[in-house]
Subunit: 98 residues, 2 copies
Amino acid sequence: MQNSVFKALSHPARRQILALLRKGPRLAGDLAAEFDTSWPTMSRHLAVLKEAELVTAERQGTQILYRVNTSVLEDAATALLGLLGRDNGDDPMKEAAE
Amino acid sequence: MQNSVFKALSHPARRQILALLRKGPRLAGDLAAEFDTSWPTMSRHLAVLKEAELVTAERQGTQILYRVNTSVLEDAATALLGLLGRDNGDDPMKEAAE
DNA sequence: CTGCTAATTAGCAAAAGTGCTAAATTGAGT
DNA sequence: ACTCAATTTAGCACTTTTGCTAATTAGCAG
């Protein structure tokens, strides 16, 4: 579960998408317009982010509004911070069975 | 540059390695013993981490001592946190040209 | 229902990532 | 120089990821 998040974050385009989304929700189309990749490619990046639950999608009639899922992003940041905390006994990367 | 870091973090084994290393420096061999992947595979994971500068390697005679590079890990965590900060005007994922 | 726009899914080819075994390297000891 | 142990590099097979174009679905307007 943590894994899909980090995998989603591993592509620069997807981090860029999150950076854009950070400033507020955005329509898929507007998002796509900001990148010079093809529309379907953008759509797939969004799907990966959605799968990792880093974003949520909400239909607005014919368009789809994307939004960052702050808590998942927070968890990821926390996991990284846990990786550098001075020894406090428990394993920060231990993850519950999938 | 940020990119190689997130890519390095995208593999669970590599995050585990960092989790082990968090508790203190460790010899490559000891590290390898903790996982059930082959030795060369572990070696490659370490190479990826080193390439991303998430760890540093230091020869100790015939063995090699690995150590987390805290600052790079910190930067990554900070980048993620930047992705969820309330709008403060600048783009947290903007990265200098490669 | 037809047509239009927004967005996703299918299918494919190219590139990158993973993990293995076998071979090479590096340093220490003799 | 020869040998042993620790580690990395080479080479290969296999899977995943990426990005494209073409085709499809979804919702709305007429």
